[in-house]
């Protein structure tokens, strides 16, 4: 089986201008949405309290919302989470109320709304672990259970925000430095520009749809950054090789040749990674949902940007044969790990 039966080099660079204009427009749209709508940050960044409760029957969201709003806790959000029985409640940070007791009081109110009384259940699991948990009892039934609570103080949130930004900067700086040493500054700039364009577009999607931006999503964004850069690296590697091999080609021709040579590998690896991510999206449940979603967008745009954007930027920056292929003596340096085997 061979998916890619390409007879001639595909003239990618002929369309570079059009594609770059498209990229720029997407990028501008992403920035626009980021600026106007902003990211819907999770409580890990903003601070606050989150409760996840599971009802015995499909939950009546409106009733739950009314109950929680009745407590006067400010701007609360109530929504379904995963299934119709699971409800997620978000409470903002309040200066006066202590966040760590807030969760318990909301649970109590929800329990009362179901005519139950808050109690405490201690039992031994079938495996033999002793467990105690707060419960809501109505007779022998349990109308709702507390699946998860999370409280984050405002100071922790601000710190995470800062650290997230540092992590992003460190990644960018590290990758640029590595590429500059390994290849050439023009490639380093091109690769980072192309991949930051991906990052901004992922963020743009999160801003446009107001998907929740959590720490896991941040991790996904950084992982994608490292991953897509390696796509650009593979293409740059080929460009260098083609410069050596085909002395008569012009720069756009060399770039076309390199991209054509790697396109099958690009699609297959990204396809494989995407299969894994899709599997997470399908089987991973609501906790991994946005993580997988960020990866999906990142991987798709990663292919696009390394093929159409990175190489084109390198071309605009005026990359030349002399930049990559140094003096003849070094070309056959036996210690050069990039020279490949001499057969």
């Amino acid at each position: 089986m061979e998916f890619f039966r390409i007879r001639r080099d595909i003239p990618f660079m002929r369309h570079a201008l059009v594609l770059n204009v498209i990229s720029f427009l997407t990028f501008a749209a992403a920035v626009f949405f980021l600026a106007t709508r902003g990211l819907h940050l999770s409580i890990e960044f903003t601070g606050g309290t989150v409760l996840e409760v599971r009802y015995a029957q499909p939950a009546d969201i409106d009733k739950t919302r009314r109950t929680v709003e009745g407590l006067g806790l400010g701007d609360v959000q109530v929504q379904n989470f995963g299934t119709s029985r699971d409800v997620l409640i978000r409470l903002p940070v309040r200066g006066d109320a202590r966040g760590d007791v807030l969760g318990a009081s909301v649970f109590e109110a929800l329990c009362k709304a179901e005519d139950g009384a808050v109690g405490n259940k201690a039992y031994v699991t079938p495996q033999g672990e002793a467990i105690s948990r707060p419960s809501c009892d109505r007779g022998s039934a349990e109308p709702l259970t507390l699946s998860r609570t999370e409280f984050v103080g405002p100071s922790v949130g601000a710190e995470l925000y800062e650290k997230g930004a540092y992590a992003l900067l460190a990644t960018i700086a590290g990758i640029m430095l590595y590429l500059a040493i390994r290849f050439e500054w023009k490639f380093s700039v091109a690769a980072i520009a192309a991949n930051l364009h991906d990052v901004v577009i992922i963020l743009g999607f999160f801003a446009f749809f107001q998907w929740e931006f959590s720490l896991a999503v941040l991790a996904a964004v950084l992982a994608v950054l490292g991953y897509s850069v390696n796509e650009s690296v593979v293409i740059f590697d080929r460009i260098r090789e083609s410069f050596r091999k085909y002395r008569k080609m012009t720069t756009p021709q060399v770039i076309d040749n390199a991209i054509t040579g790697t396109i099958s590998r690009t699609i297959i690896t990204h396809g494989s990674t995407q299969v894994m991510v899709l599997s997470m999206l399908i089987f991973g449940g609501p906790t991994l949902h946005y993580f997988a979603l960020a990866l999906t967008i990142g991987i798709l745009f990663g292919i696009y940007s390394s093929v159409f954007v990175a190489a084109a930027i390198a071309m605009w920056l005026g990359v030349k044969r002399e930049d990559l292929v140094k003096a003849g003596a070094r070309e056959h340096d036996p210690n050069d790990p990039n020279a490949g085997a001499v057969v």
């Binding site: 079938p126 105690s132 507390l146 999370e150 460190a170 494989s272 894994m276 991973g284 490949g340 057969v343």
Partner: protein
């Protein structure tokens, strides 16, 4: 050309063996167990308890599969929950004769079922994070300002004593937040005081200010000393928390320092935050009282007479009763520090207490009036008191520095100092982050994470095998080997596996196949270019290596940045991601090459390679399932 020397195969075999060995414990699952730990600060659990537990279980006719002592608790593992519950009843009955005042905590929990020989190799199952097993997580911030103020308070007392001892007249000593202000009326006195204080209190920096007869000497802790105070405060708080958390009988509580001033507490299996907070937030209190040494009290000590009016009967640590007066002289509030030390003259081990200014004053008055009598230091926990020590007062003690000595070993002194400190937190703590995960949600997360990895793996494997034929099989085996190594390394390091960690496993596998695709595409390309199969394999691997290295390094940079700046769940992700990149380089390049060499390397006249159909632009795309080299 495609042959590995025997030692390379040996390395691969060794890696495979280690991988299997350390992955193995994860498959045994967990079995019901009973855990016995100390229920009192004053009671230390040691190895001798193991024998006691063993004999109690023996008497009850129960045979534990495993009985072990792990530093601060004894654990016994059973085959089923019935035996576990019987064992719990037997143990709590035998170890705690007074059920309302238990000396030991007997709790039910889980223990890994992996056999002893694996545990002896330190091959333990992966440590599951709270999001996978359920439990509560607290992040607590230690109030360092309070710790520093407390230290300044005790230094204020020291300054006062020093100046009085040397007869230097000052116009008042006060504590101003974290600074000590000493006022003077004239310059020479201040200079004299400064020399003395700078010499005696090496932890402080002094600055002079004021003029005329309003001279001021302001002392602040040196940054180094302040850092030490903070480090000690966190350490003491952790010790105190450990003692309190033991009471919950949680199998593997995590109490760790995070950053400079934070403490993480994770209690698996506990969902009840209210109770956990109650126990964590409880303060044991320390009281200093006089011992009643009247004749009636002595009778009462022997149990021959009722306890006299205005007195109470408490037990000493050894179990001897002692009668103390109800009146409290000092409480733990006034005790700023307790450290083990040595007496300057006799070289005997001692416990040195430091009292704050108010405490020092009261203590001086009391000791002056009661030379030759005994005083008792009591520790109250959960409403029950116990006498830690009851020394005889030898002289009047001023200045707030108390030395307790006599008939102590060094360890005893250290234990006693710890006990005196353990009662209280060095500085108040505030919960700044709290997370609870229900047990069913945890199990849910495991199965979801697991199925995403499995289905993703299967899909990739099927694709690789159909697209690249035998080379695809090699790639899939290499990917499986990568998964094995990753799990083995995670188990070996006892890294905490969280849901983001499982996601990282999935993502790493998805990315790791990249290296094999690169290699396979390269080999195909060489074949397309007309190379002989052996040459094509060799060149394909060699040429792909540089690219694989480059692409992994960039991914690793992002991983390391996450590791350095991330916290909590992101850290879990980053650890697995970074380790996965390293294992994938090994498995994708070295291991898959090993397989290929093993299969093809010995065939001298290799005609074709099963790497799927090779399409050539000039050949017009004839369907051949394996590539044959062109006739040369």
């Amino acid at each position: 050309m495609n042959r590995y020397p025997w030692w390379k195969y040996l390395i691969l075999a060794a890696a495979l063996l280690v991988g299997v060995l350390y992955t193995l414990p994860n498959f045994f699952g967990e079995a019901p167990a009973v855990q016995v730990s100390s229920g009192k600060v004053t009671l230390k659990v040691d190895a001798s308890l193991t024998q006691r537990v063993g004999s109690i279980l023996n008497e009850a006719g129960l045979k534990p599969d495993l009985l072990q002592f792990d530093g601060n608790s004894v654990k016994a593992r059973f085959g089923d929950t019935d035996a576990q519950i019987k064992a719990k009843d037997a143990l709590s009955h035998a170890l705690n004769p007074e059920p309302d005042n238990p000396s030991y905590i007997v709790a039910l929990n889980l223990l890994s079922r992996s056999p002893g020989w694996l545990a002896a190799l330190h091959a333990l199952p992966m440590y599951l994070g709270l999001d996978l097993r359920g439990g509560v997580h607290f992040l607590m911030q230690v109030d360092m300002q309070a710790a520093l103020s407390k230290r300044a308070e005790s230094l204020t007392g020291d300054v006062r004593t020093l100046l009085r001892d040397k007869n230097i007249r000052h116009a008042g000593i006060t504590r101003d937040d974290q600074a000590v202000d000493v006022r003077f009326r004239d310059e020479p006195t201040r200079t004299e005081a400064l020399n003395l204080l700078a010499d005696q209190l090496q932890d402080m920096d002094w600055t002079e200010s004021g003029s005329g007869d309003q001279l001021l000497l302001m002392g602040r802790l040196k940054p180094k000393a302040a850092a030490l105070v903070q480090a000690q405060a966190v350490k003491q708080n952790i010790t105190t928390l450990q003692n309190r958390v033991n009471e919950l009988g949680v199998s593997e509580p995590v109490i760790q320092q995070q950053g400079l001033d934070r403490v993480v507490v994770q209690l698996p299996g506990v969902q009840d935050t209210a109770k956990a907070k109650d126990i964590i937030g409880r303060t044991a209190t320390l009281e200093i009282r006089m011992v009643n040494e009247s004749a009636e009290a002595r009778e009462a000590e022997r149990g021959a007479a009722p306890v006299p009016f205005g007195s109470e009967r408490y037990l000493e640590r050894g179990g001897r009763p002692i009668i103390v007066l109800r009146q409290v002289i000092l409480t733990g509030e006034n005790l700023t520090d307790a450290q083990p030390g040595f007496d300057g003259q006799t070289r005997e081990p001692t416990v040195n207490l430091t009292l704050d200014a108010k405490g020092a004053r009261i203590f001086r008055d009391v000791t002056r009036e009661n030379v030759g009598k005994r005083m008792a230091i009591l520790l109250f926990e959960k409403g029950k008191g116990e006498v830690v020590t009851a020394p005889v007062i030898r002289t009047e003690i001023g200045g707030g520095r108390v030395q307790i000595s006599g008939r102590m070993t060094t360890t005893e002194a250290a234990d006693q100092a710890l006990l005196l400190r353990a009662g209280s937190l060095a500085a108040p703590m505030e919960i700044i982050e709290e997370r609870t995960v229900g047990p069913s949600l945890g199990a849910d997360n495991i199965s979801k994470g697991f199925s995403s990895v499995i289905w993703g793996f299967v899909a990739i494997g099927v694709f690789m095998c159909t697209y690249y034929m035998l080379f695809g099989v090699f790639s899939t085996l290499a990917l499986a080997f990568n998964l094995l190594l990753l799990v083995a390394v995670l188990s070996m390091l006892q890294a905490t596996l969280t849901l983001p960690g499982i996601a990282a496993v999935a993502l790493t596998l998805g990315m790791a196949i990249d290296a094999n695709v690169l290699i396979n595409e390269r080999v195909r390309e060489e074949l397309r270019g007309g190379a002989a199969p052996q040459v094509a394999i060799h060149a394909g691997y060699e040429r792909a290596w540089g690219t694989i290295l480059d692409s992994n390094v960039t991914t690793l940079i992002a991983g390391v940045a996450l590791l350095a700046f991330g916290s909590g769940p992101v850290r879990g992700f980053a650890v697995v991601h970074c380790l996965g990149i390293l294992t994938s380089m090994f498995s994708a390049v070295v291991f898959s090459r090993g397989l290929v060499n093993f299969w093809y390397g010995r065939q001298k006249r290799l005609k074709s390679v099963a790497i799927g159909q090779i399409w050539r632009p000039d050949g017009g795309g004839t369907a051949v399932e394996s590539a044959t080299p062109p006739k040369a």
